[in-house]
Amino acid sequence: MVTIKELPKEEYLLKGHAACAGCGPSIALRLLFKALGNKVILVVPACCTTVIQGPYPFTAFAVPLQNMLFEATGAAASGIAAALRIRGLEDVTVVGWAGDGGTVDIGIQALSGAAERETNFIYICYDNEAYGNTGLQRSGATPYGAWTTTTPTGKKERKKNMPFIMAAHRIPYVATACPSYPLDFVNKLRKAKEIKGTKYIHVLTPCPTGWRYDASKTVEIGRLAVQTGIWALYEIENGKFRLSPPSDRLIDKSKRKPVKEYLTMQERFRHLTEADIEKIQRWVDEDWEYYQALTSMERCF
């Protein structure tokens, strides 16, 4: 386990980037580079990060970055990984960095293909639970009840469970994270870097613009997501499910804060009824019963 003091001082996400104030994904990006250093080639599809870079001829990224088509991150990363192998560059880490839309919706085919081919790379889905780049439309990762511009009265369907879909590919490493728990995220990235094959990390990244809360509250919202148990931090290593320290003790229901605390802090959930909130609480509780069962299994995938 690293400590904050052990993290490198160098910044590879440079000043002057173009994210909104309080942007969760940009905090995650900064941590990504702290964890992996600069021997990294990044593939970024169309998403908020396309804008965060800043416009040509400027860039806020101090590592090589290939911008890519919205649905093609997994495939482009496969090409890069193959070329690096041919060139014998084994110490360079290929990272796909994509939003939830580019991962769970349009990009799932290329990602699934890359995982099935055991492509050697880390794929990170930063999940702001909507299409940020195009102005906050719903995605397959938008949670039940959330306002977006295409679900103006709240989304009627549940969030797609992408980490489990990836785990079902039997890749060696799947993890969830949240930048509100930076060391947990950094440790997972460092572990992923050492494993050969396809590594998938799904990071919940609060987005003040889309979730409609004050920009100063990003870290707090992320913490609440974990503390209420609506976002569980875990790893699935070679099929073995393990809750991470910040989430581990929440198996005990009494340790979990009510989801209401999380939901009511965000305007996107403003119109939820008490019944809606109860339903979401029930789902969360069910998830945790499931996690408990998984924890006791030798292999869940």
């Binding site: 600069n38 040509y56 088509l69 495939a75 090409g79 890069i80 193959a82 070329a83 293909g113």
Partner: protein
Amino acid sequence: MARIVIDTANHIAGYAAKAARVKVVAAYPITPQTTVVEKIAEFVETGEMDAEYIRVESEHSAMAACIGAAAAGVRTFTATSAHGLALMHEALHWASGARLPIVMVVVNRAMGAPWSIWPDLSDSLSQRDTGWLQFYCADNQEVFDTIIQAYRICEDERVFLPAMVCLEGFILSHTYMPVKIHDQDEIDAFLPPYKAGWILDVNNPVTHANLVSPEWYMEFRYKIQEAMENAKKLIPEVDREYGKRFGFEYGGLVEKYQCEDAELIICTMGTMGAEAKIAVDNLRKEGLNVGVARIRVFRPFPIEEIRKLAKQARMIATIDRHISFGMEGFLASEVKASIYPLNDKPLVAGFIAGLGGRDVTFKTIEEIAKKAWKWLDAGVVKKETVWVDLRE
């Protein structure tokens, strides 16, 4: 040592990719392209070819993987047909915009609906504006030679654009012909190792293809147009050098046959260009001065060469294995556009033939020429677009 191989154009394309020392191949099967990538898989798995073979899950991903690999500094190859090519469309723009010299074999096949696996050129021609060079081959030897030439041209720093090498499904793809596979050392001498225009390199990081404001975007597009113009000059030079080294030369942008004194020039592409030569031999016996201009390179379009031909001929009859619905065949349009500035223009007649693999023999082409000749005598084109052999 050079050797003669009797094989299909698809397998020959595989031999060419190997001879070009391609390092990453990413492909997805579709009839009639499939045997191209099967051949390469065989080469790679038996260790005959030192390359990574990425068995992608779609054509869109095939092109994306080639983009990634080329950006990371190696020579790449893929092949597809029809619906596969259409699925790639978005990525084709990206490849040319990123100035990556990817070479792709397109085995021409008609687009559905209704399903058809037989050839016409509507798949590749409808990718006309994606910024790719487009070569059209008339036989298996030309397929081999054009693939090697294409890498040399695309990887020239004055060009840095991707290229399609097109061949018609079944007519060539599955037809055996003897082909000379040139000596590997000589190919290596002709085609130096891949040198990228830009590269993803951790020691010299670049952010590639980020957002470009209206202040800059046009300049990027202008550079592509400039590269196309450069390619237009380079292609005949490379073809000539290739001819000197290997004994096979294809006329650069346009293969001309019996054009010197021709009053009527048949202008077409691909295997119809080869078939038209037989038609011309027969027509000449009947006293008709007919010639053939086979457009070998459709992008960049050989405007200047068409103008030269137009100055001397009285009529150009285009035969398109393609239709741009609501207009005419692309070749007809391009030829007309090319000659527009001339004061003294020949007549242009457009024929649509061979869609979805309908056979176009030299006899069909003779009939087309005779019809055109009548109009030539009358001094007027009676019907602007004629559908040949149409069941009415």
